[in-house]
Each structure stands twice: as C-alpha cells, then as structure tokens.
C-alpha cells in the first residue's frame, strides 16, 4: 500500500485502491496507460500521483519561483494525462508552506505556463530536450517516468523496478536551478548523472 497523504483521505483512497485491486490487478505491471483509459488510472499511476504530491513536501522553492506570495503551487502535467481526476483528488485542500496546490494540464510544450512541478508524460518523450530547455531557469521540478529521464537531464525519474517505483535523481540538474531537494529525499533515491549526448 502506498502513502497517500493524510489519514483523513485514506478511506477514500483505500476504497479506490480496493476497487482497483479487484478489477485490474493483472494489468498492474503493464506499461500502457491506454489500456485502462483516462478515467481509471492504474495503481502504478495512483502511486506516481501520490509521489508527485509528496515531492512538494521534500523540495523547497525559492520565493522567486512564484508569481506572487499567495500564488498556488502548481503541478503541471504535460501531454497525455495518465492520472485522470485522481491527482486532483490528492492535492485538493492540501497546503504546502501555506500555498494551495493546483493541477494544470498542458497538451503541448507550447502550452506550458507557470508551474513548480512539471510531470512530463511519456507521450512527450520525443519533445523532452525541448521541454527541459524550455523550463530551465524557471525553478521547475521536472518529473517523468520516461526511460533514462534523469540521465537525459530531467530532475526526478520515476523508474519501475521489480514492481516497485524507484526514484532516480539528477542532482546536477536540480542544482542548476534554485531548488533545494531534501537530503532525505535524496537518500531514498538513486543519484544519477547527466549522460553526455
């Protein structure tokens, strides 16, 4: 079972998880989000959605990263959205350093607006370098489950190993921005370097 925020939310999540266990256990390890559609994310993406939320707990943004003091912390999803409303459910009502959390979705890289976390869907794998260079310098925490995302210059890669989601962090990429990643987060992650290509 994953760690899905507050206990107060647990019953709802637990119910969803139980349903998912029944319906889609066999598909758990399949890679294709298309297999179960937008409205019913796989358990894998439920976990990943929770991770996205959790990252906001272990990363510090400089004040300059926000347009104004009261602005929300925005989690952006680029490309095909594998989470559906699930991610919205998770962040609803949550506060990080007194900021509310909101989810915004961008179809294409050109659509990307101000955000603090950017999940780059696999569907945008081909645009990866373009996207990364686009957000560089904007203090955006880039996250993706694309292969070798960290090695290719992304900050946090969600890699699946033996049915578990592991973190790979490109510390250099993070360091290039003004973000501060908690040492605790670093410790539970695998540190990878940028591949020269």
């Amino acid at each position: 079972m994953a760690f899905l925020g507050r206990r107060s939310r647990a019953p709802r999540i637990a119910r969803a998880v139980r349903t998912l266990f029944c319906v889609a256990f066999g598909l758990l390890l399949t890679d294709s989000p298309n297999a179960y559609g937008q409205s019913a994310p796989s358990r894998e993406y439920q976990v990943k959605a929770a991770f996205l939320f959790n990252f906001t707990q272990f990363v510090d943004w400089p004040p300059a990263a926000f347009p104004e003091d009261t602005a929300s912390l925005v989690i952006g999803v680029l490309g095909d959205d594998p989470f559906g409303p699930y991610l919205d459910d998770i962040v609803r009502g949550e506060l990080v350093n007194s900021r509310r959390l909101t989810v915004r979705r961008f179809r294409r890289p050109e659509d990307i607006a101000a955000c603090q976390v950017l999940f780059i869907s696999r569907s945008q794998d081909k645009n990866l370098q373009k996207v990364l260079s686009q957000v560089k310098g904007n203090d955006v925490l880039t996250v993706s489950d694309a292969d070798a995302f960290a090695a290719r210059g992304g900050m946090i890669q969600l890699a699946t190993e033996n049915g578990k989601i592991r973190l790979k962090i490109n510390v250099d990429a993070a360091r290039a921005s003004s973000l501060t990643i908690s040492s605790k987060l670093l410790r539970s992650a695998e540190i990878v370097a940028s591949r020269d290509d």
């Binding site: 079972m1 760690f3 539970s188």
Partner: protein, 590 residues
C-alpha cells in the same frame, strides 16, 4: 568513635536511599523521554522512505538503532497501518503488532513501548513508528549506582575512621580522662581526685569546670561529714536516737543511738514496723500505732510519749517526735523522727507532783492550825488580860510600887500578845477569809488608810502625797491592809521627824504597779528578801515596835492577787516598796 562512624554511615545511607528513590521514580519518565527523542530522530529520517515507498531505505534507517542496545525492536507502519519496515530485520514480520496502536508510551512487563507519529511538513502524517526498549538500562544504571554507593560508603567509612582516630586524641582523651576520674570517685568516694587537663580549648575549660565542681563537692562532702559528726556527738551526748519509718514497705530503721533506748542489740532488732510496735508496752501499743499511722496519713507533726518494755522486762518512758518526709512523686511514704528517754524526768516530775500535793496539804494544815491556835488562844488571853487589868484597877492602892510595876508588865505583855494573835489571824485569813475580787477604787482605799493612820501621822508630823490612783479588780480590804502596812512602816521607820511618803501607780500592759516611797532609814540590800518572811525582824522591839508579820502579810495578799512585791532601798536614804496587781475583768479572771 563509634558515634562518628555511625553518624557518617547513616548520613551516607540516607543520601544513597534518596538518590535511589529519585532514580527509580524518574527512570521511567527519563526512559520515555529518551525513547521519544530517539523516536523523533528515526521518524524524521523515515519520512522520505515512507513518502516514496522505499522499504530498504526505511530498514536502513531503523538499522541505525544497533548503536542503542536497549532498543529491542522497532517498526514503521505506513499511513494505512501496514507494517512497512522492521528492526531487527531478521525478526519475522508476525512477531510485530499487525497494526499500530494509538500514539503514546506505555510499559509492558520488562519492556517500554512507544508509538510515535511520522509526520512531514504541516502535519502531513506519513505513518507510525514503534520503538520497543527493555528496562535493562535502568537495571544497569541501578547496578552501577549501587556499586558506586557501596564504594563511596566504604571510602567514607575509612575516611571517617581515620578522622575519628585522629580527632579522638583531641576530643575523646580529655572526656575519657574525666570519665575515669568520675569512675574513681564513685567507686572510692575520694573527692580529692582531679581530672588531668589536656589543652586550653573548650575541652580544657570543661575539664577546669569539672575539677572546680569536684572541689565544691569535696568541700560539701567535708562539711556534710563534719555536720554528721557533730550531729552524732550531739545525739550521743543527749541520748537521742533517730528513726526512719518507711511507710510503704513497713520498715523501721534506727541509728546506733536508738537501740539502747529499746534495750536491744542492733542485731536483735528485725527492722520492721511490727517489730518496733512489739517493743512498745502492751498497754500503749494500740495508741502508738494509731498515733503514728494518723501522722503518716495526715502528714501532721507526730509527738507522743509512750512506754517501752525492754526484753529484760525494764519499763522505760520514751518521748517521740517525727514528721513525714515528702516523697519525690508527691506520695507521703516516709516519716522520720527522734526518740529519747524521759523515764528520769518523768519520775522527777511525779516526785515533784507528790511533793507539791504534800506541801499544799501541810500548808493548809498550818493555816488551819494558825487560825485555830490564834482564835483559841484569844479566849484565855482575854481572861489573863481582863483579870490583870481588874487587878490593877481594884488593888493598885493596896499594892506596893513593885507589884504595880509587875502588873503593868503583865498588862503590856497581854496586849502585845493580843496584837500578835490578831496579826496572825489576819495572816491566816488572807486565803481562808478573803472576799471575792471586785472593782475597787484605790483612791478611796488610800483615803481610808489616811484616816486610820491619822493619829500616828500627826504624832510623827508625816506628809503623805499620792498620784492619780486607778480602779482595779481586787479585794478592797486586803489592798487597804497592804497600803496601811507599807505606809505605816514608812512612818514607823522614819529618819528623824517629818517623814515624807509618796504613793504612785504606773500602768503597764497587763498590770498596775504601785509604789510607796519614803525618806526613812532604808534597808541593807542583804535583807531585801528576808523582810518579807514572817516573824523576821531587823530591829528590836525596843527601837521599833511590831510583830514581824506585816510585810509577810503584804506578800501573801499580793501573791493571792497574782502580783509580786519587792523593795528597793539604800540605808539612810529611804526605801521604795513596789507591788503589782494584774489587770482583770470584772468577773475577776486575769
């Protein structure tokens, strides 16, 4: 020394006990605190592991507990209460609670359990940490403390012993010296012993004070001994024996002088109250017992006279006095006193009583004889007197001058005898024919006397003066006789012509003192007593006529009134006769 060691031991024991008690009461709290602190560290380090589902990282965080041997086990539960990671990792999962309990700490047997929240950020609960610790740390600590306390105690005792040994010389030695001295004194009763003074400190002062006290005791002891010896001498000389009656125990103890009073040897007296009573005369025994026991019960002064019967049968009279000694607890339990032998005195008193009775009896007989004799003598004397006077009247012209002279002698003798008999009668009547005492004006009496003596005073050319005279309770006739005799004497024993006689009265508290002063021939001091004895005359009847009864009569009358009579005089200068009459109320009692 022992006190010093004991004191330090007790102090140390109490300190250790307090220390242990404190440790025991605070240990659990401290243990929970330690657990909580440790839990905070582990929980903080575990947040990312829980947040990102990293079991191995969580296990690694927990494995850091190896450094804490008192932690037996630890577990992390995720936010759904599922076991997430455990320590030691080798323990099977089912040996841990399936789900976490409520946050908090509790003690379970020899273990302490703590459930602590794992929170990230603003109260974002990620899971629960369970820490389980054993209490061996407490026991380890207590063992260490015990060892330490034992060591401290041992060292302290050794130090205390060494200190005591070092200080003993300074403190204990003078005190021990004094104790030795006190012991020597109490055993031998020798108060001349003195404690050796060691040093000039407070103990030196104490020794000085002790010795000074001994000096005073010695002085008092000597004084007591002397006083005791003097008392013994006095008791020995006076024949007084002392006794102590222990009422509570019915014991009677005597001193050495008491035994002879009861005619017993010291060894022969049993020393009990009953054996004392047994020695009392059987007629007096009941009274002796009653009197002593009443005095013992009421603590009144005891005073008694009783007879004792000596074992050899001698009867002796003893006088006894005593008083109750107040007991220390307020109970009257002892009586002490003295006995002395009054047999001789009593015999003398009895003899004297007999003599007094005899004397009174013979005195009465004498008075009666004198009265009867003088009364009965008057009748034949009157015969002699009247017939010689008849003879003188009728036959004087028939007799020659010699016969007339002879008859004149006979008449004179008969009349002198008549006076003598009258005086004797007066004398004997003082007590037998006296009138009751009544209020009497002495001034009036003096007037009567002046009239009675008128002729004699005129002949002698005497002057009689008197001061203020009182009223007294007396026999007026007898007081008149006294005054007449004294004034008559003053005129009779005049020095040439024109005697001056003065009568005065002086009041004192209990009596009136009268005086009759003259400027006559006076009396030699050696005769001051003799003149009051009947028939004692200082002069021949040729010089001064009289019967020698007057002053004896005065003395008798004054004594009948309870007064005294005496004279003060110088030859050729005059005499003053004094007599006192005690004051009485009108009924005649003094």
């Amino acid at each position: 020394m022992v006190i010093l060691m004991l004191t330090s031991s007790v102090v140390l024991l109490l300190t250790c006990a307090a220390f242990f008690t404190y440790e025991l009461t605070t240990f659990k709290e401290k243990a929970f605190q330690g657990l909580s602190t440790l839990g905070d560290v582990i929980a903080t380090n575990s947040t990312a592991s829980l947040a990102f589902d990293n079991e191995s990282d969580a296990t690694e965080v927990l494995s850091a507990l190896k450094a804490r041997p008192q932690i037996i086990a630890a577990a992390l539960y995720d936010s759904d209460g599922k076991l997430f990671a455990r320590y030691p990792a080798a323990f099977p999962a089912d040996s841990f609670p399936r789900v976490p309990e409520h946050d908090g700490f509790r003690s379970e047997g020899s273990r302490l359990l703590g459930y602590m929240p794992v929170v990230q950020g603003d109260n974002n609960r990620l899971g629960t940490l369970l820490l389980e610790s054993n209490k061996s740390a407490m026991y380890d600590r207590l063992t260490r403390y015990t060892a330490l306390a034992a060591l401290v105690m041992l060292v302290s005792l050794v130090v205390a012993y060494l200190l005591a040994a070092a200080l003993q010389g300074h403190i204990s030695r003078p005190i021990l010296a004094m104790a030795e001295t006190a012991k020597a004194i109490s055993q031998r009763g020798d108060y001349s012993v003195r404690a050796a003074k060691i040093g000039e400190d407070e103990l030196g002062l104490l020794t000085d004070a002790f010795n000074h006290m001994l000096g005073q005791i010695e002085e008092q002891d000597r004084a007591i001994r002397e006083s005791h010896e003097r008392l013994n001498l006095a008791l020995k000389a006076s024949g007084v024996g002392t006794w102590v009656w222990d009422i509570t125990n019915s014991r009677m103890s005597w001193d050495e002088f008491t035994y002879p009073l009861f005619g017993v040897q010291p060894g022969a007296f049993a020393g009990t109250y009953d054996s004392f009573l047994a020695l009392a005369h059987h007629d007096d025994r009941g009274r002796v017992r009653a009197e002593m026991e009443r005095a013992g019960a009421t603590s009144e002064a005891y005073e008694s006279i009783f007879r004792v019967r000596w074992p050899d049968g001698t009867i002796r009279d003893l006088s006894a006095r005593g008083k109750v000694l107040p007991g220390t607890t307020g109970q009257l339990s002892r009586m002490t006193g003295v006995f002395w032998d009054i047999t001789e005195r009593k015999r003398a008193e009895e003899r004297m009583k007999g003599l007094v009775v005899e004397l009174e009896r013979s005195n009465k007989e004498l008075e009666l004889f004198a009265y009867v004799a003088s009364h009965d003598l008057q009748e034949p004397l009157r015969m002699v007197s009247s017939y010689t006077q008849l003879l003188e009247r009728r036959y004087s012209d028939k007799l020659d001058d010699d016969a007339r002279e002879f008859i004149g002698y006979a008449v004179d003798g008969a009349s002198r005898m008549q006076r003598l008999i009258n005086d004797l009668l007066d004398f004997s009547r003082v007590s037998t024919r006296g009138r009751p005492l009544a209020l009497t004006d002495v001034g009036e009496i003096l007037g009567t006397v002046r009239a009675n003596l008128g002729v004699a005073m005129e002949e002698a050319g005497a002057i009689l003066t008197s001061g203020q005279m009182p009223q007294i309770v007396a026999d007026a006739g007898q007081i008149g006789q006294v005054m007449q005799n004294l004034i008559g004497n003053a005129i009779k024993f005049r020095n040439g012509t024109g005697p001056h006689v003065r009568v005065q009265a002086v009041e004192s508290e209990s009596s009136w003192e009268f005086s009759v002063h003259d400027d006559g021939i006076g009396i030699e001091a050696e005769y001051f007593e003799r003149i009051f004895v009947i028939f004692q005359r200082l002069h021949t009847k040729g010089d001064y006529p009289g019967t020698g009864i007057g002053l004896a009569l005065c003395k008798r009358i004054v004594e009948r009134h309870g007064g005294k009579i005496w004279v003060e005089s110088k030859p050729h200068e005059g005499s003053t006769f004094f007599f006192t009459i005690p004051k009485r109320d009108h009924s005649g009692t003094a």
